[in-house]
């Protein structure tokens, strides 16, 4: 076989016209994703990207791998179905905050329970952009971005808390205007053996005039020397250790992650909050039931011979039912 060409980030770019608003935080996520795919030396056909509905969901059309743009809120079960049928695929799911934590919240929780070896990225901007800026499940109580006629009277869900409570074994947050850091988290999330969830703070320049790039970057506040004071800070720079090294420290590491994930406002942590590589993946669990699962998963099984005759021998089961 000819040596594989190693693809560059630009090789993962399609020719589809990108119709996001100028200044959208999504651009950083797209770029970081393409960089991560190149870093990991992936071949196009081994990567399947799944997305929900909304601006974020268009991302898959801009990436030159399989791109499955699904239904509002349903990206995770689509992605899980493909991964379960062919666990050899690199499966990456993505969607907005409303997609994953509003209409898709049930799937968010149940994906955590399963721990499939895949990554899910939420583009978190506090609003439903494509439908013109309604409040999303991550918009804080009482906030009133310019797109809302009244202040938000629902409280916000904390995606990191929910991910940890649901059982995700890699939980991180990134900021879409720190592309290098975001790319590194994507690489870590993909390499993590188990279910990785990454919450990406992604300003919507059109509808969310509160959580803007300037706000995250601290353009509105300066120290005594006149230097801006960014709100976003990196956990790893403060010596935060998210890694579970023995099973018995898993709960303590979760509690530690919940405490730091409670921070918001003047100091917003990004980085890896929790990582547990020790828990059996769903694939491991299936293998307990089906020893040949990884070698011959559902999508790879030969189900018929050349003449179309089934390869399965159901006679064994029919014989159990024989009466005469």
């Amino acid at each position: 076989m000819a040596p594989e060409t190693i693809l560059k980030p630009a090789d993962f770019q399609t020719e589809v016209h990108n119709d996001w608003c100028p200044g959208c935080g999504d651009f950083g996520i797209l770029k970081a994703m393409q960089m991560a795919l190149a870093d990991l030396k992936f071949e196009r056909h081994n990567v399947a990207m799944f997305s929900g509905i909304g601006c974020s969901a268009k991302t898959v059309h801009y990436i030159d791998t399989y791109g499955i743009h699904t239904l509002h809120g349903r990206v995770l079960p689509f992605a899980m179905g493909a991964k379960l049928a062919n666990p050899g695929l690199e499966v990456i799911a993505m969607g907005g905050d409303g997609d994953g934590l509003g209409i898709g919240a049930g799937h968010f929780v149940n994906a955590g329970r399963r721990n499939l070896d895949m990554m899910y990225v939420i583009f978190n901007n506090g609003v439903y952009g494509l439908t013109k800026g309604q409040a999303s499940p991550t918009l804080k109580l009482g906030l009133k971005p310019k797109s809302l006629p009244k202040a938000n009277i629902n409280d916000a869900v904390n995606p990191l808390w929910l991910a940890i409570a649901s059982g995700a074994t890699f939980v991180a947050r990134a900021y879409s205007f720190d592309i290098k850091h975001l790319k590194d988290l994507f690489v870590k999330g993909i390499q993590h053996r188990g279910y990785a969830f990454i919450d990406v703070l992604q300003p919507c320049p059109t509808y969310n005039n509160l959580n803007t790039k300037d706000w995250y970057g601290g353009e509105d506040r300066h120290d005594e020397s006149g230097k801006r004071m960014p709100r976003v800070y990196k956990l790893e720079e403060r010596g935060f250790d998210p890694l579970v090294r023995t099973e018995d420290e898993a709960d303590e590491k979760k509690l530690q992650a919940l405490r730091v994930a409670a921070e918001w406002g003047d100091a917003i942590p990004i980085g890896v909050f929790y990582q547990n590589p020790l828990l059996a993946t769903f694939e491991d669990r299936l293998r307990e039931q089906i020893p040949g699962y990884m070698e011959e998963p559902p999508a790879k099984q030969v189900i018929a011979d050349a003449a179309g005759r089934p390869t399965v021998r159901v006679q064994k089961f029919l014989d159990e039912l024989v009466v005469t």
Binding site: H69, A299, I303, R313, L321
Partner: protein
């Protein structure tokens, strides 16, 4: 004397082992070469409500149940109260004499109208509102009463097998009632013992105790003398090999055979049984014929077999879209559900249709709307299946009429799904799922898997998933196939699968997708579109679809035996509708009669919509219990005799 022509019922509180005892009865008959049809009725309840199993036995193949009961086997009071009036005057009731003082009002699970009706009945006869009264009422009509001292027998078994507490044996009363029935019927005890041993094969000691108890009850009845009893069962030589199975197993076996390797479900009655059957048997023996070239594959298959992943999902939305995801990766995949779950699947079915994803939805209909009667039967979802979802979206709706069809049609459903790259809704129902039947050992030689047009891995090729082709079918690639990058979207898309709102492309893509239905109509064999039974030149022709088939065929046998002419057009492909076949077969018939298990006779509307033909008679039933042979025979006779109301509503069955 009636030999080998019997209806038998056993009833009891849910959770008390009624199903196992019915399995013993059915199997014992089947072992003796008799044909068996069983029907299971139960409440939406874990424990305590009344369930019963009705078994019809005959010397010839049968496909439906009869309402009159010849032998009623009981071990509780409620079963007697509910069913004694249906016992034929030449029949028998097996009962526990310790229950005779039980009053109607002592049975809390009897609904108020049932209590009222029972009381009126007994008062009118001058009898007490007790089991004694009910039994006396039956006896006055000539029904034989056969008491079985259940607790004495249990004590005997406990003593012989050193069981310290009688309560551990409480479920054995089922087997005592079954075995006493066979005593009444003079059936061969060897077959009974064999069936008991099979049903309790998981634990040898339990099997032995049950055989011992069964013999006590059997001998008691035989010793009492049952010579004058009008009903007998006797083994007859069976020339063919037969299986005894339930509908949910038939569909499950079809899925194994079809190559379905990914099944999703959210728990729902009556669909879950199938998924549980698949999960319990998820390692599937497999192998290629020795002449097949792929030696490595053959070796793997021989050693490891095939396997099916069964996923219990968080809801039915996840169930359908997870199946879609697996189908995109190349697995034959399906989900099984019932009406309320199907409601949640609309968006996933629409997505599969616009993205041309082959996925099979096995829809076990039950009585609706909403939660309706969750454990009861109805064919209420025909229009729903045809129109499920918003927009014009192609799907194939295929309905099976009996257990054999359920098995083979499952394989065909996957073939249609992959050949036409569109969702297939396979309509079955509660009656099929919970019917048991003796069938000839399935002939599998003719079963073929058709995966439709598949793409191949390519280098540097120009692969377009939705390439516009003359027949609308684009070679289908699966995720992970080199050189075949594609996109999917729920939006309208171009040939690559990217979003478009271009009006010209929209017309091309809509035409491509919807056009596949026309292709399906051209290609799907006539035998899979409809089946015609009975007199070819009959003026009176029944039209129907789905599980009413058994009762229709059995009722027609009776009517034709009476010298009447009647035909039956069974619709199997409901969408796209086999208009030409229907027109050809129905045009000019003077007396068309629709038979359906629902309120509104949707097939009448479909026939009129597609052919312009008016079906003037309808026979419907919507009280939740499948049609019996006898009630349908009477309703059809009224149509044939010209004295039927345009719409007859059937109401038999508890």
């Amino acid at each position: 004397m009636r030999l080998n022509e019997l209806t038998w019922i056993i009833g009891g509180a849910q959770g008390s082992g009624v199903d196992s005892s019915a399995n013993v009865f059915g199997r014992a008959c089947a072992y003796g070469g008799l044909h068996v049809f069983g029907k299971r009725e139960y409440y939406s309840n874990i424990m305590g409500e009344h369930s019963y199993f009705q078994i019809r036995v005959a010397a010839k193949p049968i496909r439906s149940h009869m309402d009159p009961i010849n032998v009623l086997a009981t071990f509780d009071a409620e079963t007697i109260f509910r069913h004694f009036r249906d016992v034929t005057s030449d029949g028998a009731i097996i009962y526990d004499p310790s229950l005779v003082k039980t009053r109607i009002d002592d049975v809390p699970t009897l609904e108020a109208p049932v209590k009222q009706s029972l009381k009126s009945h007994l008062i009118a006869l001058g009898l007490g509102e007790t089991i004694r009264g009910a039994l006396d009422a039956a006896a006055q009509r000539g029904v034989r009463l056969q008491p079985i001292p259940m607790s004495d027998f249990l004590a005997d078994v406990a003593k012989k097998f050193n069981v310290d507490s009688l309560s551990k044996l409480s479920r054995m009363v089922n087997v005592l009632a079954v075995s006493a029935s066979f005593g009444m019927l003079h059936y061969d005890f060897a077959e009974v013992a064999k069936a008991v041993q099979f049903v309790f094969r998981a634990k040898k000691s339990v099997a032995e105790m049950n055989v011992h108890g069964a013999k006590l009850a059997y001998d008691l009845v035989r010793e009492k003398g049952t010579d004058g009893f009008a009903h007998r069962l006797s083994p007859i030589p069976a020339k063919d090999r037969r299986v005894y199975l339930a509908g949910s197993q038939a569909v499950g076996l079809g899925k194994m055979l079809s190559g379905c390797r990914f099944q999703t479900y959210y728990p729902i009655t009556p669909a879950s049984d199938e998924s549980e059957y698949l999960e319990a048997n998820q390692i599937l023996p497999a192998g290629l014929a020795p002449d097949e070239p792929e030696a490595e594959e053959a070796a793997f298959l021989k050693e490891n077999g095939n396997s099916i992943v069964v996923m219990q999902t968080e809801d039915e939305i996840a169930a359908i879209v997870m199946a879609n995801g697996a189908a995109l990766a190349g697995a034959r995949s399906s989900t099984a559900t019932s009406g309320p779950g199907f409601c949640l699947m609309m968006e996933g079915i629409g997505w599969a249709a616009i993205n041309e994803v082959p996925v099979v939805i096995t829809l076990y209909q039950r009585a609706g709307p909403s939660t309706g009667m969750p454990t009861r039967h109805e064919q209420g979802d025909l229009r729903f299946a045809i129109h499920a979802g918003h927009g014009d979206s192609p799907r194939i709706v295929f309905a099976s009429g009996d257990l054999e069809e359920s098995l083979y049609d499952t394989v065909k459903s996957f073939n249609f799904a992959e050949r036409y790259q569109t969702p297939v809704i396979h309509l079955v129902d509660k009656a099929l799922a919970n019917s048991t039947q003796t069938l000839p050992y399935p002939v599998l030689d003719g079963v073929r898997i058709d995966r439709g047009e598949l793409a191949r891995p390519i280098e540097d090729g120009d692969y377009r998933r939705f390439r516009l082709t003359p027949n609308g079918i684009s070679p289908r690639a699966v995720l992970g196939m080199r050189g075949t990058i594609f996109w999917n979207t729920g939006d309208e898309h171009d040939e690559n699968g990217h979003i478009t709102e271009d009006p010209t492309l929209r017309v091309l893509m809509m035409t491509k997708r919807m056009g596949k239905l026309g292709l399906a109509l051209e290609e799907i064999p006539a035998d899979d579109q409809f089946r015609y039974y009975g007199d070819a030149d009959a003026e009176t022709v029944v039209v129907s679809w789905g599980s009413t088939k058994g009762a229709i065929l059995d009722a027609m046998d009776v009517l034709r035996g009476e010298g009447r002419k009647i035909g039956f057009l069974q619709f199997r492909l409901l969408h796209p509708f086999p208009t030409q076949h229907a027109s050809r077969l129905l045009q000019g018939r003077t007396n068309l009669v629709d038979v359906e298990m629902n309120y509104s006779s949707p097939l009448v509307g479909l026939i009129r919509e597609h052919t312009g033909i008016v079906v003037p008679h309808a026979i419907v039933k919507f009280q939740g219990r499948a049609m019996s042979c006898n009630e349908l025979r009477d309703a059809l006779a009224a149509v044939l005799d010209g004295n039927a109301e345009p719409r007859q509503v059937l109401i038999h069955g508890a």
